[in-house]
Amino acid sequence: MNWLRGLLSRKAPSVRGLSEKGMLLYPSTGEVIRAEEALRQSGLEVAVKGPPPDLRQGCDMVVEFSLVQEMRVREVLAERNLQPLRVAVAQDHLLEPVSLFQSKELGSYLMVRAANMKITVDRRDLRIVNVSGGGCPDVPYLAEMLVGHTLDAAPEPRSLGQTLCGYALQLAFDEARRQCLG
């Protein structure tokens, strides 16, 4: 907890200062997604973000959380056997994921795009008819699992996906549900 003491002992934050956020680092994006889900279910406010360049290993994500809640965060993660590789202080350079959606009506079909992923739904029966975009290897797998199911019966991409593309698909899926199911 030296970093936290250091943070609290500062008289005044500098212009860039230290963020009040911390980040949880995991060896795989699948664990990041599970940790985010576990923390959200426990009522903690967390966000998935891109790591700063010096901590990047590959197709990475980190879970951002409020440092003052670290004890609770660690407790929840320990209960779920999801201890992170490392907990670090988040500086200002955490990258923000794309947060805007793009929707397109194609006749009776609705296509929703989030970041690099698109999901297309037939509004007549709420069936997912296509998933496209992305480049991580869980995308074709997720597409096979989702296409043909209705929005209310399809598995959540986050329950099957393990990468940033899978996470983007979850966002598109949520937005399609919001637009079609209310």
């Binding site: 699948g30 590959g58 923000e96 690099n116 698109k118 998933v131 290897p137 099957l160 996906g161």
Partner: protein, 291 residues
């Protein structure tokens, strides 16, 4: 075998396979194992196979493994390719859906560059992400990004298209600017085939061709139409066609696929394949006429 396709299939139980493959209706068969053609690397492989047959050349060979997102399959494949790089005697290699991993990427790139006959290098999807993140993007002969991926290539610190900064989904309108930025930052391959409402063929950072017609809006939501484009350009390059001509022909042929198949947004790539030989023939005729 003239060309090697390296990628993954969406099955956890698919062991590493390196060899020739065939296409049978809606499936590919590799060394006795069958995989459905829906999207991803199987869609690229099927397109490249059908196009190669139409062009009268040997179909590509494939190095594939199952990976549903854990990255385990990709890492096994990377290790195998590094250990067996001497087996790469192909004119070119197309890398596709693979878990981005900079360390493995570098081992593979350096290994291939040490070969007596360096193959042409094409990257799409996850391996293109790794190539950009590695800082060696300009060692590649061709990338085939979509508009969002073009924004990712132009953003020097983005680790993935998900974290591309500041383009607010307006990438299509900004593509020429994004091409300039990516090239200036050495984050682009020597050639680009940027797929979107307008397809751009780029050589050395300069746009040499734009293809925007014919347009079939229902093609955009169909998963795998980017993979068919990469499959087409792979086959055309394997036939010996010059790079920019191959890119332009592939872009046109992919658009004719949409015209001939007349799809709804619910179509799958396998339903487009029967139209591929005619689409390719039309595109080659058009490009030849315009040259």
């Amino acid at each position: 075998m003239s060309w090697l396709i390296v990628g993954t299939v969406p099955r956890a139980d698919f062991s590493l396979a390196w060899g020739p493959y065939t296409v049978q209706e809606r499936a590919i068969e590799v060394l006795g194992v069958t995989v459905n053609v829906a999207r991803g690397t199987p869609a690229l492989m099927a397109t490249a196979f059908v196009a190669a047959r139409a062009l009268g050349i040997d179909p590509p060979e494939a190095l594939i493994i199952g990976d549903t997102g854990s990255g385990e399959g990709s890492r096994t494949l990377y290790a195998h390719l590094v250990e067996n790089r001497g087996r790469v005697r192909h004119v070119g290699v197309t890398f596709h859906y693979l878990m981005p991993d900079v360390v493995w990427h570098n081992k593979i790139l350096w290994g291939l560059e040490e070969l007596a006959e360096r193959p042409l290098l094409v990257a799409d999807a996850g391996f293109m992400y790794a190539a950009k993140m590695s800082g060696y993007a300009d060692h590649y002969d061709l990338f085939t990004p979509d508009a969002g991926e073009m924004a990712f290539l132009a953003d020097e610190i983005a680790p993935h298209p998900f974290y591309t900064r500041g383009f607010l989904l307006q990438e299509e309108a900004m593509i020429p600017e994004l091409i300039d930025t990516a090239h200036a930052g050495a984050n682009a391959a020597r050639h680009l085939l940027v797929k979107g409402q307008t397809d751009y063929v780029v050589a050395g950072g300069r746009i040499v061709s734009r293809v925007s017609e014919p347009d079939t809006p229902a093609m955009e939501p169909i998963g795998g139409t980017g993979d068919t484009l990469t499959g087409l350009v792979t086959a055309l390059l394997a036939s010996g066609m010059e790079m920019t001509e191959a890119c332009r022909t592939a872009a046109l042929a992919n658009r004719y696929l949409g015209v001939l198949a007349n799809p709804t947004p619910a179509f799958g790539v396998a339903e487009l394949l029967p139209f591929l030989p005619e689409a390719l023939e039309r595109a080659m005729r058009d490009v030849e006429t315009s040259l």
